[in-house]
Amino acid sequence: MKIGVLLSRVRVEEKWLFEALDKRSVKHDRIDDREVKFDVAQPEPWLSYDVVLERSISFARGLYATQILNAWGIPTVNTSQVAAVCGDKLTTTLMLQKANVPQPRVKVAFTPESALDAIEELGYPVVLKPIVGSWGRLLSKINDREAAEAVLEHKETLGSYQHSIFYIQEYITKPGRDIRAFVIGDQTVCAIYRTSPHWITNTARGGQGLVCPVTPALNAICIAAARAVGGGVLAIDVLEDPQRGYLINEVNHTMEFHTTVPTTGVDIPGMIVDHTLAVARRKTDRPALTPMAHEVSGNGKVPQLVAT
């Protein structure tokens, strides 16, 4: 058994993952995504890996690396399909909608004028989000028409075409916190409240972690969300709406857990390693023509979760 760990930086999460691999005496290589080169016609150097654990801090590098590996039949955690869904907020929203998983209302428009109409149909306040991005970057809470006009004009002039895909989300009046739940395989292993006086509660932006009990209802919606995006190792952001209850806000496919491990005491890195080993074993145990759809991609199908 040999595992590749694709990464950009060695954060505390990666140190804990390496410790978990060492503890299990698993042979592993660190693969720096700044140095990696792929010859798409030459998979041989990579075939020694039974599985690759993708921990790139860059969404694009992680996505395309796993696409290449999955196309060669090398399993990854998570798969390129899951990365493609989770790394794009609109695609995530579509998959959640298709699976009837509760989420805030979302409207999409392609010009500032149509976006302004969409915002006013939804009603203030709304949240404008870049479709690709993380850590609470470039989120805008729009409270009135003047703010909407200003932010839409600014977004239109930003460099990337993606900023002109206007993703407009209903603002949920949450109780000073949201929930970050961790799903590994088919189990919600733990959750934390992220509390903040600011409407953005990401721990990267100063939100504080507190243990959140995983109730049957929280577990059910998190598992449904994980299945909707293809399953694997996922961090689910959940909002508490006063009327509608739990709503799925986002799903993250290369999660951080430096706040959650000390807060909950749950061995998330150990569980990730055990899941990754299980994915590798399934690859070697099964005939090559019958991969598990959510773990081995490359068939172009929308991912389907297979019970683990």
């Binding site: 990464l7 060695v10 660190r30 690709v132």
Partner: protein, 56 residues
Amino acid sequence: MSGSVNCPECEATLNLKEVVQGEIVVCPDCGIDLEVIELSPLTVALAPMEEEDWGE
């Protein structure tokens, strides 16, 4: 690997304990992110700046 290095930004002395290649450390004086780029000799450099697609 453990040892002392100077911050390339503010020249403060950092006492690093059991760091690994590629690890990110924060300068206690100026707060900048540094990356351990070599273990022997222990060397740090400014860590890459956050890019638009970085995250979870």
